[in-house]
């Protein structure tokens, strides 16, 4: 292995004090970060291993012996050659999340390539045409849940538009002692299995949660307002760079430095609300794309998204809090000028409750829309699954509800952050550089995100991938306006492989470009897509068990004459 260590990688290693001599260097919780690999010829090996989480040993899948896998560090303009060896007893793969590359290098078994058989090595080779913070992970089975993921950073060919004195990669993830197939089976048997924060008679009597009438109305609709996350802190430990909250991974800095934190949400199922109490974060990149700097106090990072922020900490310790969106647990790390320091860890805030807006009745407040604002419970129930509102959705048991009045929620910071001042919204993001394609779209389409929490079925347009007959076709080079309509009461981080798309949030030709967009419950997101990459591409919800349950489609991009 030829590892090219640059200045930043050395900075990582510099802080590795041997606080825990029995742990290998990569597992040291102080600033060690993850080992970095780079250069023109990179070797990665996927294998089973044990993982220490808060003092407990867990079975995991790691890469080059670490969970998360090593930081793959590339340089814009180089050709990446990455040899991936699979030492598992089952097929595996690595998908380079957010990278623009030829489809056969995208790493989705069955679409891009046949997968990597046990004992075999596959060599990925592609030109590096972008810069920024990305990540990589398995696209085989449920391996991702077991630790098969890692960060990927591409240094820009020119000057970095957001210079900094030091950086830390912060990979957030969720880890369970339960095997992922067991988690999935429990969800199929009982959709609310992991929800230990349901409403009860006790909290009704103590005046918490919804009042009785509201509970009855939600009961009539068979909707549970506490259904925020499918898999929760009741089984998950939330990790920072593979370390549990008690491990307290610590990132060191020198006072006065500008520190860049590269957040990657590599979770299987967890949306995090990230904050550093006492420290303003300036967002400079979203999904690897430079954005105009936005100072924020908190940001919601959905599964598979990345955010780069710059902080200027003073000479004291700070707690980095990654609270799961349902407030059932947190990922915790410390930012400190010296090892051994810690700041107070704030308690978990009360869990949010879904609202009528989350059921897609967002517009109901606005009598101006021409709809009667008040409806009886029975009538509302009928309206919860009115398929005439979504003519492209198949009438299948996968469809529990159709949002009667979905609204664009990109101006909101996400569930649980409604009342948090200074929380980032998608509408705060604007691309630093002009968008590469500013043509007006020549076609538009709607894709509905549908699901059934009781049967734990998830799909696009009511049709699971195993039932799908045809892919979603695009003509190469065409520009299409796509609206995602969330007909469910949960947020879905939707990822399209091989492309960036521009969010339609009123930023003109500086629209923020993303590879993954979180569609809030009962909400819509509209983006413009230039389908410029020939091939077959995966398009799916990045909640691992939603994808596994069928919330996935294939996008084909073909030249006009062939189409």
């Amino acid at each position: 292995m030829s590892a090219r260590l640059d200045r930043r990688s050395l900075l990582f290693a510099g802080g590795a004090a041997a606080l825990f001599p029995w742990l290998p260097a990569w597992a040291q919780p102080v600033s060690a970060g993850l080992p970095a690999v780079g250069g023109d010829d990179i070797r990665l090996t996927i294998a089973r291993q044990m993982l220490h989480v808060d003092g407990k040993m867990r079975h995991a899948i790691g890469i080059n012996g670490t969970v998360p896998g090593p930081l793959v560090r590339l340089k814009e303009g180089q050709t990446a050659r990455i040899h991936v060896t699979n030492e598992l007893d089952e097929d595996s793969s690595i998908h380079w999340h957010g990278l623009i590359l030829p489809f056969q290098m995208d790493g989705v078994p069955g679409l891009s390539f046949p997968g990597i058989a046990p004992g075999k090595t596959f060599t990925y080779e592609f030109p590096v045409r972008q810069a920024g913070t990305y990540w990589y992970h398995s696209h085989s089975g449920l391996q991702e849940q077991l630790g098969h993921y890692g960060p990927l950073v591409i240094d820009p060919a020119g000057d970095d538009p957001a210079p900094h004195d030091r950086e830390h990669v912060v990979v957030l993830s969720d880890f369970s002692a339960l095997h992922p197939h067991v988690i999935f089976k429990k969800l199929k048997q009982m959709g609310g299995y992991f929800n230990r924060q349901k409403q009860t008679l006790a909290d009704l009597l103590s005046g918490e949660g919804q009042p009785l009438g509201e509970r009855a109305a939600w009961g009539a609709m068979r909707m549970d307002p506490t259904d925020i996350s499918d898999v929760t802190g009741s089984t998950y430990s939330y990790l920072v760079n593979g370390h549990g909250p008690a491990d307290n991974w610590t990132a060191l800095f020198a006072p006065g430095e500008r520190v860049r934190l590269r957040f990657v949400n590599a979770s299987a199922m967890t949306t995090f609300n990230v904050r550093i109490p006492g420290l303003k974060m300036t967002v400079v990149q979203a999904d690897g794309q430079d954005v105009r700097p936005v100072p924020v106090d908190e940001l919601q990072i959905a599964v598979a998204e990345t955010y780069d922020v710059i902080v200027s900490p003073e000479d004291r310790a700070y707690t980095l809090v990654g609270e799961s969106v349902d407030r059932s647990g947190m990922a915790r790390a410390t930012l400190a000028p010296r090892a051994g320091m810690a700041a107070p860890v704030p308690p978990l805030r009360p869990r949010p409750l879904a609202t009528m807006k989350d059921m897609g009745m967002g517009g109901m407040d606005h009598g101006a829309m021409g709809h009667a604002p008040s409806e009886g419970g029975a009538k509302m129930d009928h309206r919860m699954r009115d398929l005439s509102l979504a003519p492209t959705v198949a009438d299948t048991p996968t469809v529990q509800s159709i949002s009667p009045m979905p609204m664009d929620r990109t101006g909101e910071p996400g569930q649980g952050l409604e009342d948090v001042p200074g929380a980032l919204t998608y509408r705060d993001l604007a691309a630093l550089h002009r968008n590469p394609d500013t043509r007006a779209p020549t076609r538009r389409m709607h894709i509905h995100l549908t699901g059934n929490m009781e049967r734990y079925m998830w799909a696009f347009d009511g049709v699971k991938l195993n039932e799908v007959k045809e892919p979603i076709p695009f003509t190469q080079g065409e520009r299409v306006r796509v609206t995602l309509v969330n007909d469910t009461m949960m947020a879905h981080p939707i990822h399209l492989h091989g492309h960036f798309f521009e969010l339609v949030t009123g930023k003109g030709d500086h629209a923020p470009r993303k590879h993954t967009v979180n569609v809030q419950p009962g909400g819509t997101v509209t983006f413009d897509l230039t389908a410029d990459a020939y091939g077959d591409w995966a398009f799916h919800c990045h909640l691992l068990y939603h994808m596994h349950a069928g919330m996935m489609q294939v996008v084909t991009v073909r030249p006009e004459e062939a189409a």
Partner: protein, 334 residues
């Protein structure tokens, strides 16, 4: 130096973000914003007869997001943005869907075929199972203690499942009173309900008829678990059963479950000692504690009452048609 760069970045012109709120007519009238264009030119998928019944309203598609941000002419001239009067994207038909086969040209169709099949099958396919012993309980009655069980298992995919049900009861000292087992094909007929059809075999002392079964099972509004079935016996007798239960969480682990079951028959069946009409009801109230979701001991009360002619037959045979009991048992599933 880096401070300066950031300061410069921050100083770049930033277009104001559009408010997320929709545009009310009075605002629009004042020129503060523009109403979203009528959503879809396509015929509204809300048939007039539906709309007349108040089931839906016209213009059902979500409105387009507000047009792009205000673009001052000087900005537009500099190419920073386009004027806001951008027309909505047209409703052009999609190109025809090709075969999903791009990777065949690189790796060969044969090499791709198996993994592609697996990709489709794995995402949304798959079979699962659950064995649920809802009630396995001891019944303390006036002088005659007994036991009872009620269990259900399923195996299969999201839509079609093999469902096995069994229930029965007996006395501690007396005879086994009787039980039944059903083997059903269960088919999802909507988001919440399964239609079930198959056979039921009774066993125990006395006649043990075989039945054809047609039923439904699912989750009703207000979170009631409901189940109903009609049984056609090999003698041609028709009977039925309806059940409903509700889980009231007192805390996250302590759950009170009221449950009611009604049995009825369309004709008298002397060898089973049942009359026609409602034959029996059973009501129960059980308080369980979920040590784990899968493992919950409970205590409660259950009351069986024979009705109508069936009650008269019971009395004539020296049995009490009313049988209250304290129950203690276990709910376990995996």
């Amino acid at each position: 130096m880096s401070l300066l760069a950031i300061a410069l970045l921050a100083a770049q012109p930033q277009e104001p973000a559009m408010p997320a709120q929709s545009c009310s007519p009075e605002h629009a009238a004042m020129g503060h914003c523009s109403m979203p264009a009528p959503a879809e030119p396509a015929p509204p998928p809300c048939p007039p007869e539906h709309a007349a019944m108040g089931h839906c309203t016209a213009a059902p598609m979500p409105p387009d997001p507000p047009p792009s941000s205000p673009c001052p002419p000087e900005h537009a001239a500099m190419g920073h943005c386009k004027p806001a009067s951008e027309p909505p994207a047209p409703e052009t038909p999609a190109p025809p869907a090709p075969r999903v086969d791009a990777a065949d040209a690189v790796f060969g169709a044969e090499a791709m075929a198996a993994s592609r099949r697996r990709l489709y099958a794995e995402h949304g396919g798959g079979t699962f199972s659950q064995i649920m012993v809802d009630r396995a309980e001891w019944r303390v009655r006036d002088g005659r203690d007994g036991y009872a069980w009620d269990a259900e298992g399923w195996f299969g995919g999201d839509i079609d499942r093999l469902t096995i049900k069994s229930e029965g009861e007996g006395d501690r000292d007396g005879p086994f009173e009787g039980g039944e087992v059903q083997a059903l094909w269960s088919h999802a007929i909507g988001p919440y309900f399964n239609a079930q059809t198959g056979v039921r075999q009774d066993f125990g002392p006395g006649p043990s008829p075989t039945y054809a079964v047609l039923g439904v099972e699912g989750l009703a509004p207000y979170w009631f678990e409901v189940e109903g079935a009609l049984f056609l016996s090999d003698k041609g007798d028709v009977s039925g059963r309806a059940e409903a239960s509700y889980d009231q969480r007192i805390t996250q682990r302590l759950i009170l479950q009221p449950r009611v079951e009604a049995n009825f028959a369309f004709q008298a069946v002397p060898e089973l000692a049942t009359g026609s009409g409602f034959t029996a009801i059973e009501a129960g109230l059980r308080l369980r504690y979920e040590i784990a979701r899968e493992f919950a001991p409970y205590v409660g009360v259950a009351w069986e009452r024979k009705l109508g002619d069936t009650a008269r037959i019971a009395r004539a045979g020296g049995d009490d048609p009313s049988r209250p009991a304290f129950v203690a048992g276990l709910r376990v599933w995996f």
